[in-house]
């Protein structure tokens, strides 16, 4: 096993932690944090492969993932703040007003 494979394992574990957080927590902000952890794990994989293959594509992609994650967190937190303003006790379980 090459040393860099350990980085991939760490990224896989971080992804699983983020997924568990996004799927199991009630609070919508924690769901967003879980998604951020998953994006970070994907970035770690990109950088590891970029180092492994000496390719510039991985590190360039990290830049785009960072920007998209920033856009996502801005919109997500704006929506959460708007929802909480309307219903102070909102959790991810209760946010089903779009349900028919």
């Amino acid at each position: 096993m090459t040393p860099l494979a350990a980085y991939l394992l760490v990224a896989a574990l971080l992804f699983a932690i983020g997924l568990a957080g996004a799927l199991t927590r009630r609070n919508a902000i924690l769901v967003l944090i879980g998604i951020e952890l998953m994006l970070n794990a994907a970035n770690l994989t990109f950088v590891t492969f970029s180092r492994m293959l000496n390719d510039i594509g991985g590190q360039s992609l990290v830049f785009f993932v960072l920007v998209v994650a920033a856009a996502e967190v801005v919109v997500g937190l704006g929506i959460i703040v708007a929802i909480f303003r309307r219903r102070p006790e909102a959790t991810a379980d209760d946010l089903n007003t779009l349900k028919g």
Partner: protein, 166 residues
């Protein structure tokens, strides 16, 4: 494998676990910024200076602060009366464990086929800058448009209720 890697990996995973498990949302935000810092240091240990410093600036400098602001604006710092975990937590945990099993199996079973890193990293910050304004200039423009529209959209979404109330 150096001890530095083990320390950084333990820091990152402990921060991630704590952010998922802790009750108080403010503590979660602090734990997640530790996880972000750990990932940034892992980037630096992989000779990815650009990714590492961009990670520190964007995630610890902006995203963590935004999350703390959102927690304070939504009174999320009060401890919840009921369980912090959703009703379907067991299914979520099983899905996450299955995903980790698949990813870990894929990494371990292909580990012998992975190339080992070259002694001298060939990718420099200069190369990334040149690629971003050369080969990737169209994605760069699109991502700039996305960021602008996301910022405007977030302001409109967050302001909406106030306008109605007046």
């Amino acid at each position: 494998m150096t001890p530095v890697f083990y320390i950084l990996a333990a820091l990152t995973l402990a921060g991630g676990l704590a952010s998922v498990l802790l009750k108080n949302l403010v503590h979660c935000a602090l734990a997640v910024s530790i996880a972000f810092l750990g990932v940034a240091l892992l980037f630096l240990s992989l000779d990815a200076q650009f990714a590492g410093f961009a990670q520190i600036l964007i995630y610890i400098g902006a995203v963590a602060i935004l999350v703390v602001f959102a927690i304070l604006l939504t009174r999320g710092s009060d401890l919840p009366k009921e369980s912090v975990f959703s009703r379907t937590w067991l299914a979520g945990l099983i899905i996450a464990a299955a995903v980790f099993a698949v990813l870990g199996w894929a990494v371990i079973s292909s580990a012998s086929a992975l190339p080992s890193a070259a002694a001298v990293p060939a990718v420099t910050v200069h190369d990334i800058g040149a690629a971003l304004v050369g080969r990737y200039v169209l994605p760069l423009e699109i991502v700039a448009l996305l960021l602008t529209s996301a910022t405007i959209g977030a302001v409109i979404v967050a302001l909406h209720e106030k306008e109605k109330a007046q």
